[in-house]
């Protein structure tokens, strides 16, 4: 991807320039300029922290409206496992999926199915031995983006297995096309829509339309939040369709942090961490070489895992409890569709792996020329030392250091700092005052001195 697309964006009319988001962005991607927030595109990882924190609801995620499915003849919904955590236990999974189907879809296939396939294949990825341990999960796109932006050396640790969402979309499309003699569907008739818990996945969906294998493409992302009301209304209506819920408890447990790792069982050392700042601190340790004794790292940007996604409705702890209870009740109900042998054949086919491994996002150094970069670095440090060091954010940068960097890069002026401005104004006021006071008597004095000569 050369062109960066982001689901997260700003509604300028709602932004009050309050700087709340500024200090909570994990990659320092936000500036407030001219009284409005701005996102620096190549630093944003679509984690959704700013959406959660903005008190004025000015940060939003671009997703597709439900009516966008109308442009396809055959509409398939692929819901994230998190969907099951949004509703009370008394609604069975079949009931929830029936409701989803009833609001306009011809077919529903749970992303938890793709999760099963990926989960069972993790062991294959580790079997051959790897140069870089721990292997890092590719399930959370915000974490993959984070690694591309802040931990370029770890990009190679990310597994090249496709995400459950991508594999599920592929499974749905392949099945429909394999039956085209009966269903009469052509590729372009099929619209596959991901029901998304977060902005990062919505971005991943948009990317799938222009890059990678066309069989993996997903035609749109509809947020769980937008569907919550129509789904709630549909839950009580009509007959429940049996057999829509085909995923195993292990599969839909991916909604919760640790669900993916559990596929590796006790044979492997795996570490699962949720919440973006926790993920960052563990990645720091991995980069410093401290955790190479661990086989697998599952990092999820949202608290609790996908149940904490910024486009979900239910409190993440409640949703987590519901997923866990559903998993407990359904344990062992589903036998995996693919036998071990079939799974290995699929794994060996290459279709389970992304064609191109991820690349680090280009990090812009202070200057291409090393001498100049050093000069600028020294300049930044001089300016930083002259700033108050309280990281108040009123200059529009997330901290004094970032402000000093912005000045040297030419994006800001020193007097954007209100303390610097105040000092200058004070100096100016003092000088003006001095001049005023000196004005009259001074010239008289000079005249007298002159006369005395």
């Amino acid at each position: 991807m050369d062109k960066l697309f982001h689901s997260v964006y700003l509604d300028r009319s709602k932004c009050k320039g309050c700087t709340t988001c500024l200090r909570n962005c994990p990659t320092g991607a936000i500036r407030v300029r001219g009284g409005k927030a701005r996102i620096i595109e190549n630093k944003c990882i679509d984690c959704g922290e700013c959406i959660r924190i903005c008190p004025h609801h000015a940060k939003l995620a671009r997703t597709d409206p439900l009516k966008s499915i109308e442009s396809f003849k055959y509409k398939v919904a692929i819901p994230a496992p998190t969907l099951l955590g949004q509703f009370k236990q008394r609604y069975s999974a079949d009931r929830i999926l029936t409701a989803l189907k009833s609001i306009g879809f011809d077919e529903v296939l749970e992303v938890a199915k793709g999760a099963e396939t990926v989960g069972r294949s993790l062991e294959f990825e580790l079997e051959g031995g790897r140069d870089d341990l721990p292997m890092i999960s590719s399930a959370c796109p915000a974490v993959s983006n984070l690694i591309q932006v802040r931990f370029p050396e770890l990009v190679g640790n990310i597994t090249t297995l496709k995400s459950p969402m991508t594999l599920t979309a592929r499974m749905a499309r392949e099945q429909l096309l394999a039956n085209s003699e009966h269903n009469g569907l052509k590729d372009e008739d099929i619209g596959i829509f991901f029901i998304t818990p977060c902005a990062a996945k919505a971005t991943e969906v948009t990317k799938s339309l222009s890059a990678g294998d066309p069989m993996d493409r997903i035609d749109g992302a509809i947020s769980i939040k937008d569907l919550f009301r129509p789904l709630s209304a549909a839950l009580g209506k009509g007959k429940c369709e049996a057999g829509l819920h085909t995923a195993s408890s292990e599969g839909f447990s991916w909604a919760v942090s640790g669900g993916e790792s559990s596929y590796l069982g006790k044979r492997r050392h795996s570490l699962h961490v949720d919440g973006i700042s926790n993920v960052i601190s563990v990645l720091d340790e991995i980069e410093c070489g401290r955790l190479s004794n661990i086989d697998f790292f599952e990092g999820l940007a949202c608290t609790g895992g996908c149940v904490g996604g910024c486009l979900t409705v239910e409190n993440n702890f409640v949703a987590k409890m519901r997923i866990e209870m559903r998993a407990e009740n359904e344990r062992g109900n589903v036998v995996p569709a693919l036998s071990e042998d079939d799974l290995r054949t699929f794994y060996a086919s290459g279709d389970m792996h992304r064609e191109q491994p991820l690349e680090p996002r280009i990090f812009q150094p202070l200057d291409e020329d090393f001498d100049k970069a050093i000069e600028k670095m020294n300049e930044i440090e001089r300016i930083e030392a002259s700033l108050p060091g309280i990281d108040c954010g009123s200059c529009g940068a997330p901290g004094c250091r970032a402000h000093a960097e912005d000045i040297v890069k030419g994006f800001a002026r020193k007097i954007d700092c209100i303390f610097v401005l105040r000092d200058r104004l004070e100096t100016l006021a003092r000088l003006t005052n001095e001049m005023l006071q000196m004005g009259q008597p001074m010239s008289e004095q000079e005249e007298t001195e002159d006369e005395s000569k």
Binding site: E287, G289, P360, F363, P365, D367, F370, A373, I374, M377
Partner: protein, 138 residues
Amino acid sequence: MGYNMTFDVESGDFATAGQASRKIKKKLQDLGISSKIIRRIAIAGYEGEMNLAIHSDGGQILLDAEPGVITLRLEDTGPGIGNVDLAMTEGWSTASDSVREMGFGAGMGLPNMRNNADGFEITSRPGVGTKIKMTFDL
């Protein structure tokens, strides 16, 4: 023409250990150093930082970036190392049990630093302190 920076590391301060290495990493990224070299410096720097926190009475990490070479110096006051050659063998450690229980000090520190650096010099005076100089060619 160069850029240099000093970081203080306190003895026994495990909670903030790693901070200096993180800052060094960020600065080297800004200077446009390749991520491969940064990673080696981060690994060696982190080991060094841990050594200062675990084994010394406190010290400093000095970063020096010049065209062609990055130098990392670790200077501490403390017990020093009696037998440097022995300390350079993999697996050797003087860390106390309580430190080991925290997952630190399982040996490997000095050899790991040497393996990641292009140049490695160590001088130690028992009862006074240790000085390590690591260089990384650009």
